[in-house]
């Protein structure tokens, strides 16, 4: 969810980046479409969303890595997190930085692109080429803004399923992802158990907790309190709620880390100065770092997309769909699960992940559960954690062997 570590901290960048950000955000969607793959859906038959609105036509932007084998059995769908996108590996076309899972996806890595065909789709409601609030509403020709229907995790998965069908893949070898990506993994396994051989939900939960909803609400309020948000119509008004979006990002970013990680990275160290300035500049490195996180985020992310996607996470409660019993969502599931959590993650703590394991045990599902020791907090799933990589690779190997997978 965060930028790659080691980003230089910039003082006062939030203000300076405003116009730049607008242009960058403007071209981001266009660029993503140029640099990636897209597919159109819902032209003839619109897709019915959970909110009751029929959406169509819409675009899904996606990326693939590796090659699909002859019987199309080696496909792995990676579901991205809240502010992630389809650019897993290689250089990101908008930020110029490595893809968010370049530690995991690539030749010889845990998701070995010499063996697997890896697909990642920008989620519905996103802003990296897939249809979202930033896209043009066919009815008006203007950006959807808040007229865009509220989408859910299940809607995102429904849309991905259309793409998987279009690619001619009958059964995914694996669906994996962290955080909101993990929610999609659980939704895939619950909605289409016969279409998924293995599922690896990482650092996730079967429902968004009150605390998580609370943090999201702070982020949304920050965006909506920005006068440049214009009731959501900032694109039509030629403005962008950079300050609000940056604050939302800064708040969220704290939840992705841990106190030990913040202490290790920054402590109380000062930012390029000998002493306190007795003012409100970013005296501390941690302040400067957060400002930088906010400033760089607004260059690649759409504020309304942030509202919609956080809402989708808040609404997620897989048990509720199954009469209040999470286990019922997985009854008779043939899917092989591997649930992975990180010890210092307090946003999606081990206990939440373990609840998923308990539910799977209750239906005697095939489940592995691993907690990885790490002080990096929720963001650990994005970092180079050797034990995490080893577990993921080992589980996939075991599954590949079990499935008798042939490689291209």
């Amino acid at each position: 969810m965060s930028e790659q570590p080691g980003a230089t901290a910039v003082d006062g960048a939030v203000e300076g980046a405003a116009e730049e950000a607008e242009d960058a955000a403007e071209t981001a969607q266009q660029q993503a479409r140029q640099d990636g793959l897209t597919a159109e859906f819902g032209g003839d038959t619109p897709m019915m969303l959970d909110c009751g609105v029929a959406l169509g036509p819409f675009t899904l932007a996606y990326q693939t890595y590796g090659r699909l084998n002859a019987d199309k059995s080696n496909a792995i769908l990676v579901c991205h997190a809240l502010t992630g996108d389809q650019f897993l590996a290689g250089t990101h076309p908008v930020t110029g930085k490595p893809g968010w899972w370049s530690q995991i996806v690539g030749p010889g890595l845990a998701l070995d692109t010499e063996r697997f065909f890896v697909i990642c789709v920008n989620v519905l409601g996103g802003c990296m080429g897939t249809t979202g609030p930033k896209s043009a509403n066919p009815a008006t020709g203007e950006a959807w803004a808040l007229d865009f229907p509220v989408i859910t995790i299940a809607d995102m998965v429904r849309a991905q399923k259309l793409l998987i069908d279009r690619l001619g893949i009958d059964k995914l070898f694996c669906v994996t992802g962290g955080s909101m990506g993990g929610m999609q993994v659980l939704q895939w396994a619950a909605s289409y158990p016969e279409k998924v051989f293995a599922a690896v939900p990482i650092a996730t939960a079967a429902r968004h907790t009150a605390q998580n909803i609370a943090f999201h609400e702070v982020g949304r309020q920050a965006i909506m309190a920005d006068l440049d948000w214009c009731g959501g119509r900032y694109i039509a008004e030629g403005r962008n709620p950079d300050r609000g979006l940056a604050v939302a990002r800064m708040t969220a970013h704290i939840t992705y880390l841990s106190e030990p990680a913040l202490h290790r990275k920054f402590g109380r160290r000062l930012q390029d100065r000998r002493g306190l300035t007795f003012g409100f500049d970013a005296d501390f490195q941690v302040e400067s770092y957060l400002r930088h996180q906010g400033a760089s985020f607004v260059q690649r992310f759409d504020a309304n997309s942030y509202l919609y996607i956080t809402r989708a996470m808040d609404y997620f409660d897989l048990a509720q769909e199954s009469g209040g019993q999470l286990a019922q969502a997985f009854r008779d599931t043939p899917v092989r699960f591997c649930v992975i959590s990180f010890s210092s993650d307090w946003l999606f703590p081990t206990s939440e992940n373990r609840d998923v394991v308990h539910a799977l045990n209750a239906v005697a599902a095939d489940v592995s559960f691993v907690e990885i020791e790490s002080d990096a907090g929720h963001d650990a799933f994005l970092l180079d954690e050797p034990e995490f990589r080893g577990t993921l690779a080992g589980f996939l190997n075991g599954c590949a062997e079990h499935r008798g997978l042939s490689f291209p």
Binding site: D112, N361, A362, V363, F369, A393, G394, L396
Partner: protein, 216 residues
């Protein structure tokens, strides 16, 4: 670990002899839950050699991670608290090898095992073995032997029993004893000595025992 060296990661080291004896009690293709599966050696053997559908529960997170990395379906969990989650008859065999004495509530664990599986296979060190008795009698100290190497204050084994104690518990729980093996030097004893019907003698000479149980 490179994702490609699957075979190296699963080298077929010879199975510990008491585990090999347990493996022989398991039907081919059965559904097996190995409770306290440690590094997954027995589970791996059962999956490869007896084509079982195998799962494991293990207390140590380090062991769990190693098991999953070698492709086994294992969760971190506790025999005392986590067996209640499983539905009745989810497995054909629930295996508890040399772990019963480390549980907080052995009776409850045993009852859970025969609930979730058609058969329970339990092995344990026999506290009635002559060396243990001699140690206590002559030295007046808690026994430290080859098969029970930890001192009383650091041992995870908090509920020792003898073979006769265990049989009494099975009777109290209404369990049917289907098969027994009494081990000396990790080899099953033949004839009367190897049978619980050898009574006091088996209880004196056996270092470990393996029981296959069921409850209708």
């Amino acid at each position: 670990m490179s994702p490609l060296d699957t075979s190296a990661a699963r080298s077929a080291a010879p199975l510990r002899s008491d585990l090999a004896l347990i493996a022989r009690m398991v039907d081919r293709g059965a559904r097996v839950l190995d409770i306290g599966c440690s590094d997954g050696a027995l589970l791996d053997h059962l999956i490869r050699e007896r084509e079982v559908v195998g799962r494991g529960i293990e207390l140590s997170q380090r062991n769990v991670n190693a098991c999953v990395a070698r492709g086994l379906s294992v969760i971190q969990g506790d025999a005392d608290t986590d067996l209640v989650e499983y539905p009745a008859r989810a497995f054909d065999y629930a295996i508890l090898s040399l772990t019963l004495q480390a549980t907080r509530d052995p009776r409850r664990v045993l009852e859970q095992m025969v609930r979730i599986a058609r058969h329970a296979i339990v092995s344990f060190p026999n506290f009635g073995h002559w060396q243990v008795r001699l140690h206590l009698t002559l030295r007046g100290r808690m026994p430290v032997t080859d098969s029970l190497p930890e001192a009383w204050y650091e041992t995870p084994n908090i509920h020792f029993c003898t073979i006769r104690d265990f049989i009494a518990l099975c009777e109290a729980c209404g369990l049917e004893i289907e098969e027994t093996l009494v081990l000396r030097n990790d080899r099953p004893q033949k004839g009367l000595l190897g049978s619980i019907w050898g009574g006091p003698l088996a209880n004196l000479l056996g270092e470990k025992a393996i029981f296959r149980l069921r409850k209708d």
